[in-house]
Symmetry: C2
DNA sequence: TGTAAATTTGGGCTTACACCAAAAAATTTT
DNA sequence: AAAATTTTTTGGTGTAAGCCCAAATTTACA
């Protein structure tokens, strides 16, 4: 995976449920076992096993059978975007009178269908906030030109 | 369908594609033929026929076989909400730097998963705007108490 | 009335997601 | 180290939402 990989996704590649898998793996960190994911997401281990294979085939995780998974470089970059998207959108909704909890729930339902492009626009329109309602917002390694320029001019 | 029917939905009842069917039927008005829907949504008539049956079973349309469909009272109220949601969310996104067209496209992808409750909060937080980027925003027959009170006090 | 057009039905395919049972691999226990 | 237990995977199934094609049905019209 090269350095431009962060520019090569729309944010619409992953289904809602796979977002849960990836963010769990990112938050847990390191190598994660099938059972840990299964009990966290409350699904049968066989379901986890199959989903992990799909995520591996798509290049987001390394899966060593019977051993566990960890994020690939693409997986890390991608999942950081997923987290950022979640936090930006949640923060946005709280600006319209939703409680942090409700905002989080609401966003979890639709975030998979919000493009990276839209998130970037919202993010810069909000002034690249550093904190959301459910954690720190990392602007990651994929800062877009506009923000880099802003930073340089500080 | 009684007068309270407008209070008995979450906004999450309908799949993305069915939204297209219902809004087309609302916009076309009156009784709509299978073929009209098919050519507008670019799907096989057999697909339309089956979807119409599902919408009829769910109570949103009256379907007279070989004749066409029209919205039930519930269908009208519900679809007016769908349109309002689309317009409120599109308007919202344009406030974050998205063009009207991009906002519309973006919203079309995720609107099905935004609850009525969230839409109501966003709507009142925006001051119940009357115009969106893709048409007039009707606040319909299901105005919530807060807005009714506001109106009474004007 | 008979043919053409519209519509529906039946069958099949895909994606996403889930479960269970059984096989396989790893781990733990004795 | 071998046996027993636990974890993980595989294979089979099922549901729900879409979609298409081909064939049957109904309507419309010439």
């Amino acid at each position: 995976m090269n350095e431009q990989s962060c520019l090569e996704f729309t944010g619409l590649e992953i289904s809602p449920r796979k977002i849960d898998y990836l963010t769990f793996i990112l938050e847990k960190g390191g190598t994660v076992k099938t059972t840990e994911i299964s009990s966290s997401l409350q699904v049968d281990p066989s379901t986890t096993s199959k989903t992990l294979n799909e995520l591996a085939r798509a290049g987001y995780v390394n899966h060593v059978p019977y051993r566990g998974v960890d994020l690939t470089e693409l997986g890390k970059v991608y999942t950081e975007f997923l987290v950022k998207r979640h936090r930006i959108l949640s923060l946005l909704l709280t600006h319209y009178g939703l409680s942090p909890e409700k905002a989080c729930d609401e966003v979890s339902r639709f975030e998979a269908f919000v493009s990276r492009d839209a998130v970037d626009k919202i993010c810069s329109s909000m002034g690249h906030p550093m904190f959301g309602v459910c954690g720190e917002i990392s602007h990651g390694k994929c800062l877009h030109e506009e923000y880099l320029t802003e930073c340089r001019n500080k």
